[in-house]
Symmetry: C2
């Protein structure tokens, strides 16, 4: 089979880590007889610098025509502390999410036994944690209108909006995901304060009846922020709205001590996007030190979306082998300190 | 001196723990020659059950006439899973915050050396952590209008609003607080997405110039949620808006492993409210097992607000002595397992 993969390296370490995922996908292609056609496109600060926009139309067209999108990272510190900047790299990301209809961000969080000592949590608290955070990605306060300033510039406002359709769509995905796992779903909201959360809870309570095999519990977001640290093992699938998901999925990502290893998938109406959950890590850009594993595992999720399950499994096995062999970048082991491209080569070779 | 203390035990374990704080305040009164006049008033589910409202006018009048408010906890599970309930205990809390103008919630987070093994974090990560979360408490998405449903009930919305005045007021308090501590302030927002956050950042960047001795840094909320777990020791004072503060202050409260020990103060325009940060813990209500220390330490913060610093110090010393003596409730030590009232008696006796 031939697959078209829109490839958006983005900013910071993005290009380096995406290169490694490409290597690994090529190795899979050779071994299993698939051909991957990588179509490169600009995004983020890199795109602003070249064409003045963070998600140019040309990039969007390439994504729309692709079978999947492989994404690096975006963000450049020069834009962060200028609240009045007209164009920001993040707008590219948000524009892409909206235009591709990427309504669900899926982040599996699992501990790697060999890395448990790197977790900030006590080993016995985190060992064996294995759950998935499902975040709604195209609604809520990220996109709601109206937003902006009053004319006198003295007041600013944002709007959090959710429709029943948006809520049903993401909950359906979450219920089904839980069905394929341990059949437990935690719906996180702030129904004791927010009207939008009360609608989430209503819709979810109605949908529960269609999934009698799933055990559902409801948790306020502040409580979820605590439980994730205290008892991460008790979660199976957690689903929540966009802003809460932004916070909780990042919180969840550090408890295993393996931020550099965690992939994500953003499921879309038109195509889906696969990317590491860590950021563009500008301090490391160009140094060939960043950990490429999260991006390589994102490529594995990409293959799963094509239903190439053996191929995806092969990548995961290769990554586990590299960890067992302690063939890792400096974030995992100062002593080992392999470079980004060395790790990419090692994993690609193992696949072959 | 004579002080009027509005006393709102609330729901669940509220009455039991407030009783212990009263004991300790009475002991302080005897020793230092103050008289505390405790004026009891209804709030929360307890108030709904008796008079149909969670923050009755009579309670508000008692608070307005008081020098300070001592608060237990509110919340009752029977209201949590009914998204259509007309009156909810939390509305009482929110009503009280708004009517008393409680614009700043202050939560000191510190590790207790004897409890470090109870922390979910590895000891070396958390040992010595000592910071304060300042949360804006009367603005943002908690109170912004419009909020509710569209007529067809198919869409729900909430509004996050902040004015320059509200932002300046809370930041001023946070800058001054940092000035009395280690002179570092972390302003947490989501300025890469929200218009309201961009206004926060603008106001803060302007105010920085008036506090040249304070080192300020800006952090996105998702990043803050990670840093709190990874490097809690690097924070001194963190300030943020209402919803982010709800999530981050609860997250912060569990990293020390001493949720049952942490007090809070809510600084108001009319009076201030002192309460434990934990909830109403309904499963333990009436069992005389809940930890009263957070409420007792809230009473110490209350004394600080009267500028009774020696008296406050005495309470803290008494609590530390009880911990050193392992005279603690079951949440701290299953073996010790003293009751709520035994701990209250011990601390009050030590004070005398
Ligand atoms: C960069 C930012 C707009 C983005 C978000 O808030 O969604 C990021 O934090 C993420 O989680 O992908
Ligand atoms: C009960 C609820 C409304 C409240 C809040 O969200 O502020 C609580 O979580 C708190 O932090 O005091």
């Amino acid at each position: 089979m031939q697959y078209k993969i829109a490839t958006l390296p983005g900013d910071g370490i993005g290009p380096e880590i995406v290169d490694q995922a490409i290597k690994v996908l090529k190795a899979i292609g050779e071994k299993y007889g698939h051909s991957f056609d990588f179509q490169f496109a600009l995004t983020g600060a890199a795109a602003i610098d070249k064409v003045g926009e963070p998600y140019p139309d040309a990039t969007h067209e390439i994504c729309m025509a692709a079978d999947a999108v492989l994404f690096g990272a975006i963000g450049d510190p020069k834009y962060d502390n200028d609240p009045k900047a007209k164009v920001r790299p993040e707008q590219g990301l948000l524009g892409m999410r909206k235009k591709l209809g990427l309504y669900a961000n899926i982040r599996p969080v699992a501990t790697f036994p060999s890395l448990i000592d790197k977790s900030p949590l006590k080993n016995d608290r985190v060992e064996g944690a294995d759950f998935v955070v499902v975040r709604e990605l195209t609604g809520g306060i990220y996109f709601g209108q109206p937003r902006g300033r009053t004319e006198d510039q003295k007041t600013a406002f944002d709007t959090c909006v959710y429709s029943v359709d948006e809520i049903e769509r993401i909950l359906k995905l979450a219920f089904e995901y839980a069905g394929k796992r341990n059949k437990r779903l935690t719906v996180v909201d702030k129904a004791n304060v927010l009207a939008s959360s009360r609608l989430w809870r209503e819709v979810s309570q109605r949908m529960e009846k269609d999934y009698p095999e799933i055990t559902v519990d409801y948790m306020f977001v502040d409580n979820a922020a605590m439980q994730l640290i205290q008892w991460p093992k008790k979660f199976d699938v957690m689903v929540t709205e966009n802003m809460f998901g932004d916070i909780l999925s990042d919180e969840a990502s550090v408890i295993t001590g393996s931020l550099g290893l965690l992939p994500s998938a953003s499921v879309g109406l038109h195509t889906s996007v696969f990317e590491p959950i860590h950021g563009s890590y500008p301090q490391a850009a160009g140094k060939n030190i960043a950990n490429p594993v999260a991006t390589i595992l994102s490529a594995a999720m990409l293959l799963e979306s094509f239903n190439l399950l053996d191929e995806a499994r092969k990548i995961k096995d290769a990554v586990n082998a590299s960890l067992d062999a302690n063939f890792v970048t400096e974030d995992i082991s100062k002593e080992a300190s392999k470079s980004t491209s060395e790790v990419g080569d090692w994993v690609a070779d193992w696949v072959k």
